[in-house]
């Protein structure tokens, strides 16, 4: 979208593994991706795809025992992986903000939401209690929470899922970050609420914030994001613009995903299926992680991870035996 020379955030060859004493398990392998200013990048993946770890690694939020084992992450040209934790801490919340999936556990259940917002505000903005409170009320109503005056005194469990998610987004937006990383922000929500939250994200994007939107729902990602990364088993399978992924996907996994998502409008007796299940955390994989489920798997696929090849200036995929592009667009 915006043709800035340098991307805002860039991953180069990032590999994340557990830091075991004797054995170490690779969880995310050789990830290259980038987000430009003002762009919305979608990361699609199922469980075990490594998408959440990839997101957490940006601000150094990986859980203990898990760490970057190679590669670099740069933000605005600065290499994040070389920064000490104190510098990262200053970036978190200010420039790089997160919105997580489960708003109930992401909010402190014993503190009112008004207080949680004013706490963050006071740290970064400061002011008297009254101004802080007014600021909190204003943020809440701007984000679509009705009756914000009363709501500031509510506790998280008294709000609906959609409202809680708005509070989380409010907390993330308080300091006007440059990039917002949302990990499955609408997954726990009802469909109608999800639509509203997506509207909210769209509105947020108009302020020029970059967005990484992680979801297992490829339709949400296709509808909403500029570019899409498809991950499976800790690796990037395919990258492209939303149109390219939606209509001209080459990787068998992407195609299978697009086909087997239950959608309104297709008239199938039985839903299309991908047999087997995504790799669990326990399994280490050699070769392409999708090879044991792939209808187009060659012998080579099981032993050698395919190299990434460009399909167009804006898209690439990693497959030894890519499929011809899907003739028809995804349904409806």
């Amino acid at each position: 979208m915006q043709g800035s020379s340098q991307p805002l955030l860039r991953f180069e060859g990032v590999t994340i593994a557990t830091r075991g004493s004797d054995s170490s398990r690779v969880l995310v392998s050789d990830v290259d991706l980038h987000v430009s200013a003002g762009e919305a990048l979608g990361i699609v993946g199922e469980s075990g795809s490594g998408k959440s770890l990839t997101a957490l690694s940006v601000a150094g939020l990986l859980p203990s025992g898990v760490a970057l084992s190679s590669g670099r992450i740069s933000f605005e040209g600065k290499v994040l992986t070389e920064l000490p934790d104190s510098a990262l801490h200053r970036l978190r919340g200010k420039q790089i903000s997160y919105v997580f999936q489960d708003p109930l556990t992401a909010l402190n259940p014993t503190i009112t939401i008004g207080r949680q917002i004013t706490d963050v505000l006071s740290q970064h903005v400061g002011g008297s209690r009254k101004t802080l409170k007014r600021g909190a009320i204003e943020i809440l109503s701007r984000l679509g929470i009705a009756d914000a005056e009363k709501r500031v005194r509510s506790y998280p469990h008294q709000l609906s899922g959609g409202m809680r998610q708005r509070v989380l987004i409010a907390l993330a937006m308080v300091c006007k970050p440059r990039i917002l990383i949302a990990d499955e922000p609408t997954t726990a929500l009802d469909v109608t609420v999800q639509a509203k939250i997506l509207e909210l994200f769209r509105a947020i994007r108009t302020t020029g914030i970059s967005l990484i939107f992680i979801s297992h729902n490829i339709d949400v990602v296709l509808e909403f994001c500029d570019r899409v990364v498809v991950m499976y088993g800790g690796r990037v399978m395919e990258v492209g613009t939303a149109e390219e992924i939606g209509m001209a996907a080459r990787h068998p996994y992407t195609q299978a995903l697009l086909e087997c998502v239950p959608r309104l409008g297709t008239n199938l007796e039985r839903l299309r299926v991908i047999d087997g299940q995504p790799p669990g955390a326990q399994e280490t994989l050699s070769g392409c992680p999708f090879s044991n489920r792939c209808p187009r798997a060659l012998g080579r696929c099981h032993s050698e991870m395919p190299l990434s090849q460009q399909a167009s200036p804006t898209s690439s995929f990693s497959c030894w035996n890519p499929a011809p592009t899907l003739a028809a667009a995804s349904a409806s």
Partner: protein, 296 residues
């Protein structure tokens, strides 16, 4: 979890192993008291009173000439018996009441049980114990035809003071587990309340209790020692670490340091060992160890 698995995992935590060693040593010594003790702990020998540690008496003698080492070994028996016994019964009653209260949420029973817990919880354990002994009296007591000896009485008392805490923990877990889908599913398939509570709810409510109960063993040692120290616990001449400390009170400043130090050290090592085990168990009993798949 199988026994081997438990011990294998406990071994992963070196502090837990250290704790096991400490406690194990004490328990072993207590069990082997008749063989381990060099002399009769009750044998008075006023000629050799207040002797410092020497080759004859490894830890010295007390004011009545009794060998300190033997007294500590026999005292281990006393103290550990009371400690383990009280935690055992406290757990038994606490868990039972907690399970009932948690399963029967919303009923009068639940209210009664939790209020009783709250009531006794609000009284500090030691104060409660002192008050109760003050009422019941020291030494063996007789309830009509029954004679309850000193030890049993102490065990019962200290167990009683542990029951609310352990009951509360169980109650909290049982509350959650009783509402869970797997209990609901089984109940809808026709399982009886007893089966539900014992087979389904209990195993899932027990881990935090085990940790707390383990830590309570150490507390029990100290409670017994404290009670004995002030004369309300084990009655002389039966040796227990607390009574030995009580005796030692008079000799701390006059230079016979060994009379106070060694019993105190015994208590300290035992409790430290127990706490180490308790900590290790807490880490160990989390069923989801390792990288949590939710992050991927």
């Amino acid at each position: 979890m199988k026994r081997q698995a438990i011990f294998a995992r406990l071994g992963q935590y070196s502090s837990g192993v250290a704790g096991l060693v400490l406690l194990g040593a004490m328990v072993l010594v207590a069990l082997l008291a008749p063989f381990a003790a060099p002399s009769d702990p009750l044998a008075l020998d006023l000629a050799s009173k207040l002797l410092p540690p020497s080759s004859d008496h490894l830890l010295g003698t007390d004011q009545a000439g009794r060998d300190l080492l033997s007294r500590i070994i026999w005292g281990a028996r006393e103290s550990l018996l009371i400690a383990f016994g009280s935690v055992f019964f406290g757990t038994l009653f606490g868990v039972s009441l907690g399970l009932i209260a948690g399963y029967k949420q919303g009923t009068v029973i639940e209210n009664v049980i939790t209020r009783v817990f709250d009531l006794f919880f609000s009284i500090p354990m030691l104060v409660l114990a002192i008050a109760l002994i003050g009422i019941i009296g020291t030494g063996s007591i007789s309830l009509g035809p029954l004679t309850i000896d000193d030890q049993a009485k102490l065990i019962g008392l200290i167990a009683f003071s542990f029951t609310p805490a352990l009951g509360r923990i169980t109650y909290a877990a049982a509350l959650v587990e009783s509402r869970s889908d797997y209990v609901r599913a089984k109940r809808s398939q026709g399982a009886s309340p007893l089966e539900l509570v014992v087979l389904e709810i209990l195993p899932n409510s027990i881990p935090p209790v085990i940790v707390q109960a383990t830590l309570f063993i150490g507390v029990a040692v100290i409670v017994e020692a404290s009670l004995s120290f002030i004369g309300l616990g084990v009655q002389p001449p039966t040796p227990s670490w607390g009574t030995m400390l009580a005796d030692a009170r008079n000799y701390i400043f006059s230079g016979e340091w060994w009379i106070a130090l060694f019993p105190g050290l015994a208590i300290c090592l035992t409790v430290v060992g127990i706490n180490l085990i308790g900590d290790a168990m807490r880490d160990m009993l989390d069923p989801r160890a390792g990288v949590r798949s939710g992050f991927i």
